[in-house]
Amino acid sequence: MSKFRFAPHANPLLKRCQLYLLLGCMALCLATLTGGQYDPSASRLLATLLGHGDPLTNLIILDLRLPRFLAALGIGAALAVSGSIFQRTAGNPLASPDLVGFTVGSASGALVTLLLLQLSGNAVILGALLGGVLSALLVTGIAHVAQARGERMIMVGIAIAALLAALNEYLLTRAELDDAQEARLWLFGSLDSLSWSKALMVLGGCALLLPIAAQLGQRLRLLELGNDLAEALGLPVAYSQYALLLVALALTALAIATAGPIGFIALAAPQLVKRLTHTSDIGIVAPALMGALLTAAADLLAQRLLAPFQIPVGLLTGALGGLYLIYLLASQWRRTL
C-alpha cells in the first residue's frame, strides 16, 4: 500500500484482468499447438519444443502453428491498442481504424495494386498501406472541413467506407478468375501460411511501437477531459493528437501489412476491457492482451470450425464485429432514450 491516497494507481480490477488475459493467452497457445488435424502427443510436442523432435512434428508445430499463433498475438495487440487510442482521443466507443475508413481503404489499395496495376508481393502490401492512409486522410480531411467531430466524424467514415466497399466489389467483378482468388484475401485478412519472417516483422513492430504508445498514452488521460481543459492543464493538445494518431495508424498499418484487414478487434477489445474493469483508464497492457487473445482465439476457430476448409480470420471477426456493433448501438440508444 502506498503512502499516497490520491496518486494515480493501477486499478486492482485492471491488474486482475491483465493476469486472466495472460493466462488465457497461454491456454490458447497450448490449444493451438495441440489438437486439430494433426494432434501430437504430449511427449512429441515436448520433444519438439525442446529441440529434438521428429521432422513432421517440427514442421507442423515450429514452422506452421507457432509463427501463426505469435503473429495473431502481435496483430491483435497492435489493433487493440490502435483502437483504444482512437476511441479515447475521439471520446467515442465507435471510433476505430475500421470506422475511419482505414481498413476498407487498405483493401481498396491492395485491389488496385493487384488488379489494375497488375503488381504482386510487397507492392500489394505497400498499396494496401497507401490505400489505408489515403482513406483515413480523406475521412479526417472531410471531417475537418465540415467541422465534424466525434459522432459526425464517424458518419463521414461510414459514408467513405461504403463508397470504397462498392469500389472493391466493382474491381472484383472486373477481375480475372485467378486474380480474383488472390484479391479476395485482401477483403478479409487471413493468417493462412504465415511465415516466420512475417511473424517476426509484426512482433518487432510491436516491440517498437507499443512502448511509444504507452508513453504517449499518458496524454489520453488529459485529452479525455476535452481539448480546452487538456490545454488549460498544460498539454500541447494539437501535437499530442497528431502524435497519438500517427502511432495508432502505424499500429494498424503493421497489422494490415502482416495479414490484411482484420476487423472488429480494434473496435471491441478496448471496450471489453472497459466493461470488465469498470475503469476508463485502461492503459495499454490490458487492451493489448485482450486484442491478442481475441485474435488468436478467432484464428483458432477459423482454422478448426470447418476444417479442413480454412475460414479467413477476418471474415470471422467481421461477423462477430457486426453483432457486437448492433449490441453497442442498442445499448447506447437505450441509454439516451
Binding site: 491516497r5 490520491f6 494515480p8 477531459l225 480546452d228 490545454e231 488549460a232 492543464l233
Partner: protein, 264 residues
C-alpha cells in the same frame, strides 16, 4: 488551509481581437483583471464571453493585440508554464465514462509532472486541500457519472483548485444548478478568493448573483466591452437596457445592499 500564491498575479489584455474561423468574435478588448478580486463577466448569450476567457488563457491565438500574464506576453510562456499560473474551467468540461472523483481531481496536478517521477507529497497535499475546500473528500470513490449536478460541479472546481494557480477562470460554473447549489458554489468561490488570495474570473448569467458576489463587473455585448466597474457604479436601468434590451428598475438588495435588478 494553505494555498500558496508566491507572487502578485497580473492578467490584462491589450487591444485583443479574437476570431473563430473567419468571423471576428471579440473586438479590440483592453481589460485588466483586478488582482485578488472576484471579477464577473456578464452579457447576452453568444456575445463572446467564453471566447474572451479562452483568449485570456491562450486557448485562442489573438488575431490582433496581446494578453499579458505576470509581466510577460502570454504566448512567451510554455503551455505548461501558463498552466502553473492560470487555470480555466471551460463550459464544455466532460468527465470520461466511469472515472472516479479522486482520479479526476488528481489530474489537476498534470502541470507539475516531472519526467520519470510520479507523485509527490506536494501533489498529495494539493489534492487533499482541493477536496476539502470543495467538501468533496467523502466523494472520492464515487463515479462522477453518478453524482448530482451540484456535487459534480464542486468536483470540477476541485480539479481546478488542485492545479493551484493564482489566477482561475470559470466559464458558467453555476449553470444547471438549482438556486441553493448556486449560492453554495458562489460562497465557496468567495471564500476561496478571501482565504486563498486568488484572482477569480467567472462568467455568470444571474445578474443579481453577479452584483452580490463580484467586486468587478465586465459587461459585454457583440464582442465588445460595453462598460466595466463595480456593481454599484455600473448597474443602472439605462446600462441594463443597453446591455440586454431589458427595461428594469434597480433597487438595493435587502440582504447584501448590492444592486438588485427587477425587470419591468
Amino acid at each position: 488551509m494553505n494555498i500558496h500564491v508566491s507572487y502578485p498575479s497580473r492578467l490584462y489584455s491589450d487591444k485583443l481581437s479574437l476570431d473563430c474561423g473567419s468571423t471576428r468574435i471579440c473586438h479590440d478588448i483592453s481589460v485588466a483583471i483586478p488582482d485578488r478580486g472576484f471579477t464577473v463577466i456578464i452579457g447576452p448569450n453568444g456575445c463572446g464571453k467564453s471566447t474572451l476567457l479562452r483568449g485570456l488563457s491562450r486557448l485562442v491565438r489573438p488575431s490582433a493585440g496581446k494578453v499579458h500574464l505576470d509581466g510577460k506576453v502570454i504566448s512567451d510562456y510554455s503551455t505548461r508554464e501558463v498552466a502553473q499560473r492560470l487555470g480555466l474551467l471551460p463550459q464544455s468540461a466532460q468527465a470520461p465514462e466511469g472515472i472516479r472523483v479522486g482520479e479526476l481531481v488528481s489530474r489537476g496536478r498534470f502541470p507539475y509532472r516531472r519526467a520519470f517521477s510520479t507523485w509527490s507529497d506536494e501533489d498529495e497535499r494539493a489534492v487533499l486541500a482541493a477536496l476539502q475546500a470543495t467538501s468533496t473528500l467523502e466523494l472520492i470513490d464515487r463515479e462522477v457519472d453518478t453524482l448530482s449536478g451540484g456535487q459534480r460541479q464542486r468536483v470540477w472546481i476541485a480539479l481546478a483548485l488542485a492545479q493551484e494557480t493564482p489566477v482561475l477562470l470559470l466559464d458558467e460554473p453555476t449553470t444547471f444548478l438549482d438556486i441553493a447549489h448556486q449560492i453554495e458554489l458562489l460562497n465557496l468561490l468567495r471564500n476561496l478568493k478571501e482565504t486563498g488570495n486568488r484572482t477569480l474570473v467567472a462568467v455568470l448569467h444571474d445578474l443579481n448573483h453577479a452584483c452580490r458576489y463580484a467586486d468587478h463587473l465586465i459587461a459585454m455585448r457583440d464582442g465588445r466591452i460595453l462598460f466595466e466597474g463595480s456593481p454599484a457604479e455600473i448597474i443602472t436601468p439605462s446600462n441594463i437596457e443597453a446591455l440586454f434590451g431589458l427595461r428594469c428598475v434597480v433597487i438595493s438588495d435587502p440582504v447584501s445592499g448590492t444592486p438588485l435588478v427587477v425587470p419591468r
